[in-house]
Subunit: 335 residues, 2 copies
């Protein structure tokens, strides 16, 4: 009977030791939580865009998800199905009602969403903007492309393709800020840096394949020496590509497009489009989640209490661009 008691005691001691070790090193212990950034699975961060069907959002969402995986939190995607500010507002209202740990928003236009963004902040939900901003809102940060710089890069690439001489045109969406900036960066650079080049016209492609195809055909007729077109959106770029492909005598037009949807990449592979500007969309999503996580966990520098006007996070993040050509196009297909 003594032997049994000894075994009992040994077992109980070993048991206690394990419980003790578990408490020391297990997930409930402070040391582990302090060292290392980690949230909880019950913590939900939402990404909200307009036109949820667009292939364009995929890479940003992948970045958002990758950061969610890295930090051990849950992410969800919601999008207005159409290009409709009222619908996106409703989607954000519904998100606020669910009290998420944070929301990353790509704003359909600079103005419409300001009230609902501020409403989320008033409800204590951190908001950052990515891809497309809403400058008057109180969102903590904007992460996106420096579109002027993207236009400069497109101009430099065009000059390289054309041996620094010849007539070029721009096909853009007049009135849309992102596109205006791309166009302006391109035109300024051609004018300042390349005296043997000239931007002969800036036309409206309406981000539509048909309109862009027709407009580019008109431009090629109007300017027989036209050597290149910079198109500030992917759908329009594919339209210009079609125009060139449909010609009997292939016009040696150099096309530089924007973004990296499959149609654009296929045309680069086929040689119809010479280059396209890839945006740092993964970075937009990844660092948006990081920022929201830091706000939710109060890991940013505390705002001075009396004013609240200091900036707990970087206010503006240029997520970078890269130039895609036939040489590296295979790296840009979704994996």
């Amino acid at each position: 009977m003594k032997k049994t008691l000894l075994v009992y005691m040994l077992l109980i001691a070993a048991f206690a030791l394990y419980v003790f070790r578990y408490e020391q090193t297990g997930p409930l212990n402070g040391t582990w939580e302090d060292k290392g950034l980690r949230g909880s699975i019950g913590e939900t961060y939402m990404m909200i865009t307009f036109q949820s069907g667009l292939e364009y959002w995929k890479s940003g969402l992948k970045g958002f998800e990758d950061a969610g995986d890295a930090l051990g939190v849950t992410v969800e995607y919601r999008g207005a199905t159409r290009y409709d500010a009222q619908e996106q507002t409703t989607v954000i209202e519904q998100a606020i009602a669910r009290k998420p740990a944070g929301i990353a928003i790509s704003a359909i236009d600079p103005h419409s969403l300001i009230p609902v963004i501020n409403k989320a902040l008033d409800a204590g939900i951190p908001v950052v903007l990515f891809d497309a901003e809403a400058p008057g809102s109180r969102a903590y940060s904007f992460l996106g492309t420096d579109n002027y710089k993207a236009g400069v890069t497109a101009a430099d690439k065009m000059a390289e393709l054309l041996g620094r001489e010849g007539q070029v045109a721009v096909l853009t969406l007049p009135g849309q800020q992102n596109h205006e900036e791309r166009s302006r960066g391109f035109r300024d650079t051609i004018q300042r840096q390349y005296p043997a080049m000239k931007v002969v016209e800036v036309a409206d492609g309406r981000a539509d394949a048909m309109v862009s195809r027709d407009e580019s055909q008109r431009l090629m007729k109007a300017y027989p020496k036209l050597a290149g077109i910079f198109v500030t959106d992917a759908t329009g770029g594919a339209g210009v590509g079609e125009a060139v492909l449909s010609q009997k005598n292939s016009h040696p037009l150099k096309i530089i497009s924007f973004d990296t949807n499959k149609a654009t990449l296929d045309m680069i592979r086929g040689g119809t489009i010479s280059a396209t500007i890839a945006q740092g969309t993964w970075n937009m999503g990844y660092w948006s989640l990081q920022y929201l996580f830091h706000l939710h966990h109060h890991l940013t520098i505390p705002a001075p209490s009396s004013t609240g006007d200091n900036t707990p996070l970087p206010v503006r993040v240029d997520t970078g661009i890269s130039v895609v050509t036939r040489a590296n196009v295979d790296d840009y297909y979704a994996k």
Copy 2:
């Protein structure tokens, strides 16, 4: 005896359950390492500046240290003692020899450090730049103040202080890019936004207290109606403050300075300096370390293999500013 056996079996089962739970959730399990960002204590990240004695670096270093604590890695600070490009190059050379996990550098000027920065990258050591950049280098990212925007903010604050009218001057360091941009943002804004205001002179204060004091005395004599001075550096700001304090008949000059060293904050508390522009220095340090950690652990989006020209990290980060006045000055003293 049957009863004893039952107790044995129950104990063993409970023991096994605990061991099982421990393996499932304990720190040695892969799930824990995968979920959550955490480095190792043997991983050393270095911050390197020029003029290591400057109070200005403290808050950036605090951000760097806070990120190191959060991620469970080691950080070290090194600085050239003087304002000397050759000395800073040597400090970086010494750092490279120690093979750190990453280096964050504030560059003494835009050109001198480019070779040594590229040398670190060639040695496989990630480099980001903060506070002061070196545009021609291959460093992954720059995190710092948008100085033009800081100048705009200073102009808006000056207009508010002066009721949108009156003569103002700028005391700056001609030739230094950061300071030129602050000055330009200020002058452009006064000219465009405030027709009843005028920048009467832009003078050289050499970032020196004595020179700035003398220059501001000269300006007050030359322009008896001078109502405000924007000084683009902290040392100069204190010099202008001294000039105003030393006057017999206190001139009601409004001074807006830059940065938040103790002398500046004291003069704001005392009412001599009306406002100063605080930079997001903590953010520069904190997010520099985050970026280096992500590069070291290959947590960024992979660069297309064939070109390597895409950007694994945001290329440019505006770390934000805030306006410090008597109302919130107490929040800016080092804690």
